[in-house]
Symmetry: C2
Subunit: 281 residues, 2 copies
């Protein structure tokens, strides 16, 4: 038996097509403000990709660029202005910010209604409390969508989330808990990852540690979701999970690349449209 | 070997004494507004106990009473007024509200700065994000204090939280995660509670199910924290955990009554003082 590969690229494409149609049908132009401070090469690429994907579905983006030595006050003033600007539906602050700037202080200044990343504590709290109306971070939201698209039943399943970031691990744990999974969260201080994995029906790994999850770690028929982005010994892009080895033991797997990654951008675009619709309801 | 009993009553007494001294030394009178709607007998007792404990440490309380048929608009208007009233440091909305009233809508109206229960999504989100400055719900905050008071090391330990309420289970999970525990959350849909318990160094049970956690569920030397309030077959007050049976297998245990319960009120009072100090910083 070979695991079913969950094609995130294809599912994300379908979602983007649906968003594009909805935006065209409604004859609207949601607008996303993107703030990029400094010249981190990965951030430059991420921002370019987000802008391109936004344009393709009919979302307008405006890029605000700052140098590495930007004064945090400038970022705050910009955010205050964007919060008040009715033409702006979403504000995306690309992380990481230049060294020495307190990201959480800047992030928390974004109006929760325009926080399309779902990183504002108010949005995190709505998710944690199981209350509607908040914005859910794009990556965990996309993963839940993949699980549901694949028809995987969640209630009562043992789900293990490896990694406890505010961007993936913690919101993922809360989403799975809201779906009635029994949820465990492992991280760098966890002592026996192997036995936790062996007990898990669903593993979401978001660490960036090459081949962290191996074949003898997983149970037969496990669902494996890989959020890691690593390079193997040959420089090939891969994830946290030993993909080839686990293929004949798992029931469902996401590939890297082409699994979770494309879903993140699709969910970000969906969050922008949802923000627009809420603001114009 | 017999487990060490964590004397919550005694520890809570010490905390209340400390709060009383601090309030006297500073010559201040923090003020807590308590809103009670309807005539739920348990709520009446809880409110009375909170008012009594507040008075003992020098916190003034003002009780706002409403009937079962209160119009939610009245509660909202009162909260708006209390939010603006500089003399009020904390607002406590006693739950449950009368049937038909959307508790979360009313709770979310309380200013996060005056939300001494820590139930507002913004405060929950600050906890989830690991950010400082928020208010943590009294029961999980008190449990963490008990664990630390007993000198129990938390980093790297497997912690199991049974129950996923917004008031205990979820914030408890986040607090333990912030302390570097590997955290699992079990609940009514969990399939194999026994094996989860057997793998746990620390169990926090908050379900109200009589003798849910039995001796053969726990590992040798487990730390058992009991948040449950049940009655046994003889009508005697007890918790979720089979206390007598686990005594010679666990390393630390909280009794019911006299364990977590007294800490909840002490932490509420501490939250009121902290709110006062933040508002008057």
């Amino acid at each position: 038996m070979s695991a079913t590969i969950i094609n995130g690229k294809e599912i994300a494409f379908q979602i983007r097509e649906k968003l594009k149609n909805e935006i065209q049908t409604r004859a609207i132009t949601p607008k996303l403000a993107v703030i990029l401070a400094g010249h981190d090469p990965a951030s430059e690429i991420y921002v370019k990709n987000k802008q391109k994907a936004a344009a393709e579905v009919g979302i307008e983006t405006v890029l605000y660029r700052f140098e590495d030595d930007v004064n945090p006050k400038e970022l705050e003033d910009l955010i205050d202005a964007l919060n008040k600007d009715f033409s702006v539906n979403g504000i995306l602050l690309q992380l990481p910010l230049p060294e020495g700037i307190d990201s959480s202080k800047i992030l928390n200044r974004i109006s929760p209604q325009k926080d399309v990343d779902g990183f504002h504590p108010f949005n995190m709290g709505l998710l944690m409390a199981g209350m509607n109306g908040g914005t859910v971070a794009a990556t965990p939201k996309g993963i839940l969508r993949l699980l549901k698209h694949a028809g995987i039943e969640l209630a009562g399943k043992n789900a293990l989330v490896i990694g406890r970031s505010n961007i993936v691990g913690k919101p993922m744990a809360m989403l799975l808990l809201n779906e009635d999974c029994t949820v465990s969260v492992a991280h760098s201080k966890t002592k026996d990852l192997k036995s936790l994995c062996q007990n898990a029906d669903i593993i979401v790994s978001a660490t960036g540690c090459l081949k962290l999850v191996q074949k003898d770690f997983i149970k037969d028929g496990a669902v494996l979701i890989d959020v890691g982005i690593c390079r193997d010994e040959n420089g090939k892009l891969c994830g946290d999970i030993d993909f080839e080895a686990c293929l004949d033991k798992a029931s469902f797997m996401t590939p890297v690349p082409g699994g979770v990654g494309p879903m993140t951008i699709a969910m970000l675009l969906e969050n922008v449209l949802e923000a627009y619709l809420k603001q114009n309801a």
